[in-house]
Amino acid sequence: MISLEGVTYSYMPGINALDHIDLNIGAGELVAIVGENGAGKTTLVKHINGLLKPSEGRVTVCGLDSKAVTVASLARKVGLVFQNPDHQLFAETIEKELSFALVNFGLPPDEIKRRTEWAISEFELSQYAGRSPFMLSGGERKRLALASVLCYGPEVLILDEPTTGQDNRQKVRMASLLHKLNQQGKTVLVVTHDMEFVSDYIPRVVVMSHGRVIADGQSGDVLVRRDILERASLVPPQLAEISWELGLDPPSIRLDDVVARLAKLIGGAKA
């Protein structure tokens, strides 16, 4: 679905924001992209939706070479949800916000109505119907921004820091929504610093540092590697830290696993 081959990009000569990136993401995968500020996460994402074209190498999304197509044609396939919803929302009412892209894509009115209504109910926004997006709370605005992107049905969805300022319950709901989209075959990329969210809900993680991919694999394997987390200035998941602190080998990011092994340890010592 998404393939990067030897992708290099520099904003300024001599400094590579992306440095020979090779990355393959299959259709229907759910992947987290993590790394310190300035690691190249946003630059990478902008290559996937075609806003930036590689200085060297090749980016292919849904079979299209990003250099050969316009940003507008990729935008239909790749939806990007910003960290700050206020950078994205602009319409007078929630309905207009949700239907903006659909109208621009020239969809028939009854289809627009159907999708808008779906989004309002899916994201529990009906109590705000007819009101301005700026009347909503921060968390609700974030949900609306996501809804407005989902409405036009992109195949690839990229979310930048979807969990900031969200309480635990909303995080759980966000996770189940991402899994649901995933089951519908959408490819979902989440750019985040929230290592708890990644370790609890996202199966694959790509770690970036200084414009390179320094690790790529199952979250349970990558997020317990101290060397990798330190190089990327990442805060370890709590369960990884618990595993290290208690000397569990191999370390784990699964609660049931950590508990079962500790219970065994205690049991053994008592016997």
């Binding site: 709370s137 968390g139 300022g165 635990n168 909303q170 610093h193 708890e196 208690l246 950590v258 500790l262």
Partner: protein, 283 residues
């Protein structure tokens, strides 16, 4: 035993915003002793932010609405005092520092408060130097706030408040938009300020980051305080589990292991606490 004096007293406080029919705060009773570090949490929309705004008198003085009960800060009843006077007792830090910074340099930003109190020049210079130093941003004084990272901006916002010499700092999710390293360094600033006697009220969802720093945890739900006590007692309560707040993983691990009678009173908060007690148990 050191006797502490109440610096904040909230009595039977209820509040409804002007444009709303539902109350946002319902019969809140709360007391903070001078020098306490209190973490406030609860689901979105539970009233945390509204509560913060009552402590420095923004509610009801600037917001209007229906206000009943009493908020007393350092002996001043908030409804009877102008905001500028309350601002010298309580500083309020918001989630997004971009929204509160407006001067061309960090130094001017930080000097803005004491300048408006018409303090003598030497006093202003002294307060600015001291505030920049405590927060650890003296090297940024000539920069424009726009050039700074989110974490640095948040420190500028805190330094600007410190020049008012507040006894209480109220922070409403100050690290929500920061990367983890910046968040940690902002939290370290709060710990330092608390150690020199500033009372801290910190609103935060990520309890694993802050609960071990706090003397007390207060949990709001639907406009009411539903839990108030030592972090251990709050986080190990059934109420906390049922509310779906972000209980630290160390607590979840310990809770699962606590079924054993000899571990019944065990209440670790961090991975390190977990180790200390397990070691004792393993020995």
């Amino acid at each position: 035993m050191v006797t502490r004096l109440a610096i904040i007293e909230v009595e039977s406080l209820s509040y409804t915003y002007a444009e709303s029919t539902q109350p946002s705060l319902i019969d809140i009773n709360f007391k903070a002793d001078s020098g306490e570090f209190i973490v406030i949490s609860g689901p979105s929309g539970c009233g945390k932010t509204t509560f913060c705004r009552t402590i420095n008198g923004l509610i009801p003085n600037s917001y209007g609405g229906k206000f009943s009960g009493r908020v007393v800060v350092d002996g001043l009843v908030t409804t009877e005092r102008p905001v500028f006077e309350l601002a010298q007792r309580v500083g309020l830090v918001f989630q997004n520092p971009e929204n509160e910074l407006f001067c061309t340099t960090v130094e001017r930003e930080v000097a803005f408060g004491p300048e408006n109190l018409a303090l003598p020049r030497e006093e202003i210079i002294m307060r600015v130097d001291e505030a920049l130093d405590i927060v650890g941003i003296s090297h940024l004084r000539d920069k424009s706030p726009d050039e700074l990272s989110g974490g640095e901006q948040q420190k500028v916002a805190i330094a600007a408040l410190l020049t008012m010499k507040p006894k209480v700092l109220v922070l409403d999710e100050p690290t929500a938009n920061l990367d983890p390293m910046s968040a940690k360094s902002v939290l370290n600033v709060l710990v330092d300020l608390n150690s020199v006697g500033v009372t801290i009220l910190l609103v935060e969802h990520r309890l694993e980051m802050v609960s071990h720093l706090a003397d007390r945890c207060v949990i709001f739900d639907s406009g009411k305080i539903v839990l108030d006590g030592a972090p251990q007692n709050v986080l190990y309560s059934d109420t906390a589990a049922n509310l779906g707040i972000g209980v630290p993983k160390a607590v979840l691990v310990a809770k699962a292991l606590r079924q054993r009678p000899e571990l019944e009173r065990w209440m670790p908060l961090t991975p390190r606490d977990l180790l200390k007690l397990l070691r004792g148990d393993l020995r």
